[in-house]
Symmetry: C2
Subunit: 493 residues, 2 copies
């Protein structure tokens, strides 16, 4: 099946919208009558919605899963092209991420991981370009030392590498002193350190921060970066392991489909894809969802997994609280541009590079060998020097080529433009200063019979697939308990 989402470019086909993916669900709906009513309506088929739907189905509830796109996975999905998976969004996972790993273990997929890095051949080095005028070459050990040193200076606010400020990564405001760091931007922190960073350190550090937030240094909350650091065991080695090292051999969609299929196997899952939501009305005894196509669906409860940046596009009745509305209007800052390039020959498999700040893509690594024997390079850019990659494909190619001039004979580009995606309006969540300390509790709060579940307001691996599963689990558990009690009360009457 081919999704409407995503773009592919080759010299022979030119730019085309839509890429093949096992995440596309066909037929797009199994709902025969919208009048039946469900126990719970789940809005969004990303990992939050898949988890919530699956758990609710397993618990015996009648579930309707409604999704704007033609596919599952939300901001994490993979396209398989000629037998090779390209990760269009969320990619990496690790056994240090508890909610996703519990599912990997449960689906017996522990042996289906592979490493992104393979520092064994060809152009086996790290290339740092701080202007278009040349490259500095480092061994990967030197790359690690450079980044680790710079990061340690950046995070060491307490003489304990952040451990005193965030002693519990899954309870990040445990120490109230952490809140003050949410008033700071990454730039504020950098400005306080300016004297102690070498130019190379500053360049790689800024690139790494922006690889995490894909905002600008001004719009990146220093607290949230510290939180990532704490989640990554307070070390650069931990950052590598948890953030960018391990992926599914078969792509994320090979994992997401397990949730969907398990829910389907219960016989209790109704679903409707291609169904963007217009409004959600809580009538007290039931919640009525109206899709843009005019269809209405109702449930005793509704779980909204609509991302923060999209929340204000749906009309809620009663209206959302002023605090939640304000947070949604501020939104998160991640404007990631992720571009896969297949480049001729396997020589670049062991290469990594940073081209910053002059280039439209900042960070890239060799990520695999395609069936054609070429190198798969994955490149990241963001708000600091933004492009819409499909608007000017030659500019996008130049941005890839600029990562390592002379080494990028581009055979194929694959990408999804998350920033222009009306159902995402950005990539993974990253907070601007003050958003979390002011609004996290509110974003997690229910609104009558409507519950909100999204990685954007997870407390642990917020922004990650892990956080999405954390949130889907939380919402499903609440609904399951409430409806069980409701049924028990009703059967007593």
């Amino acid at each position: 099946m081919t999704s409407r989402d995503g773009y592919q470019w080759t010299a022979t086909t030119g730019l085309r919208q839509g890429v093949p993916s096992i995440s596309v669900i066909s037929p797009p709906t199994n709902v025969l009558s919208t009048t039946e009513g469900w126990d719970v309506v789940v809005v969004g088929a990303g990992y939050s919605g898949l988890t919530a739907s699956r758990d609710a189905c397993l618990a015996g509830l009648k579930v309707l899963l409604i999704e704007a796109r033609d596919r599952i996975g939300g901001r994490s999905w993979s396209s398989n092209i000629d037998g090779y998976p390209f990760e269009m969004g969320g990619t990496w996972l690790s056994w240090g991420q508890p909610h996703i790993w519990r599912e990997v273990s449960r689906y017996q997929m522990r042996s289906e991981l592979e490493p992104s890095f393979d520092f064994s051949r060809g152009v086996n080095h790290f290339e740092l370009r701080t202007s278009s005028q040349g490259s500095s070459i480092f061994s990967h050990l030197e790359e690690d030392a450079l980044l680790a040193g710079a990061l340690q200076k950046f995070v060491d606010v307490d003489g304990a590498m952040g451990r005193e400020i965030i002693p519990y990564p899954h309870d990040a405001f445990h120490n109230p002193a952490a809140r003050q760091y949410d008033n700071m931007s990454a730039l504020d922190r950098l400005n306080g350190l300016a004297q102690s960073l070498t130019p190379h350190e500053r360049a790689v550090l800024e690139s790494f921060i922006l690889l995490c937030s894909c905002g600008t240094l001004e719009t990146t909350s220093f607290f949230e970066f510290l939180h990532w650091w704490a989640l990554c065991d307070y070390s650069y080695k931990g950052c590598l392991q948890h953030l960018i090292s391990y992926k599914f051999k078969g792509g994320q969609s090979s994992f997401a489909i397990k949730f969907f299929r398990e829910a389907m196997a219960t016989g209790r899952l109704s679903y409707a894809f291609n169904s963007p939501v217009q409004s959600i009305d809580d009538h007290g005894d039931r919640v009525v969802l109206k899709a843009r196509d005019g269809r209405q669906y109702s449930g005793a409860r509704l779980i909204s997994t609509i991302p923060l940046n999209v929340l204000s596009s749906v009309t809620f009745s009663p209206p959302l609280s002023p605090e939640r509305t304000a947070a949604a209007n501020i939104g998160h800052v991640n404007q990631c541009v992720k571009v896969h390039a297949e480049v001729a020959s396997p020589d670049m498999r062991s290469w990594s590079g940073i081209s910053y700040p002059f280039n439209k893509l900042a960070y890239a690594i060799g990520d695999g060998i395609t069936p054609a024997g070429n190198t798969h390079i994955v490149c990241f850019g963001g708000a600091h020097n933004h492009i819409q990659p499909e608007e000017d494909i030659d500019e996008t190619k130049r941005a890839v080529e600029n990562m390592s001039p002379g080494n990028m004979d581009i055979k194929r580009l694959v990408f999804h433009n998350w920033c222009k995606d009306e159902f995402a309006k950005g990539a993974w969540f990253f907070a601007p200063p003050q958003l979390l300390s002011k609004s996290l509790d509110e974003l997690r709060r229910r609104h009558g019979n409507v519950l909100f579940a999204n990685s954007d307001w997870a407390v642990g691996w917020r922004s990650f697939i892990d956080g999405a599963i954390e949130e889907g689990t939380r919402a499903a558990m609440t609904v399951i308990e409430e409806l069980r009690q409701l049924h028990a009360v009703r059967s007593h009457l």
Copy 2:
């Protein structure tokens, strides 16, 4: 409620068997008729059995949970004495343990952890005693450096601190080269290193290995130690974090009871405590369990969480495979002796010590301050110099006092003798050489309608609570899927 399990000694009461615990379930059974038959019978109310029972109940199955003891938790349970929790068995957890952390998150208990270590006051050092003739005193930083250095020599079989031999901690035989290390004992490995270890390094290293296995150096599989090391992020810092740093403020039983209560809330959990199992007969269409009290219970499936060292005490029909029987007869080697001592004054809160090999307890740390303002010290011994702590309480007190002569004015002792416990026959699983490479797959295999779930044969955090939840999840998922299909087929006929 007071459990039959555990012992307590104070000067005024002397030694008494049985300690108070919220893990004791009253009434001990809610089964009115044993003839009704269940979808699934779960044997054992440790974390494997609790997880399997809860998941099956949530999925709508009728479950019978049968347990030999008067309490839940198996090898992990806590006694609360005068408002202070003493962990009788499995204690520590971390957010790097995915299955347990998913449950901590799900039950919203992230804020209910506290650290064991508090290096802030009083006798704030590490005390190493290699004979009864004196102590060497180190700062805790020196303790860390000593242990980290020794451990790195021990595990560095590949020049990569074990990362090449076990690149995936949750898929530990991924690299077939790992198997050869299961032919080695810890002693074999130590003998190969003898020249490179200082006497202090050797003493702390042996103590640390034996703290993990509680066997002897000869009976400790070097592979399994490497596996623990890999699970702990290949670092001493990771070992500290994952193995011994964080515990529940309210004790393990405050966590275990959540599983039990959630299963009960479904209205589908039957249970019978004080019901040791005599035999398990698989009749093909149902499995019949006979308890020692003569009662019989039957289910479409049975999940046995009976630990490896106890498996041969139950008669199976058809008989277990020769391979499984052989593994059960070999058993695991952990003969842990864990003794809590409340010692006068808070001065020892920041102390840690090793007294090895001459003493009957080898490793101890200050673990808390009791309501009376005394220090809670937790001490560990094992097979290398074994005691049965209740048999000669004066010898046990001397073993505690020998950890730090002059500093242990003992007010209270609390412990459970796992080695004489007929339903455990040892503490957490630790493998002798060859057991895992020969038998792990067989131990994980089903036997007709009987499934086996225990941390003893988990693939990830084997031996840990995490592994128990991993296994309970696996077994429940299998049973839920099979019975759903069975019901679907039946309703078609």
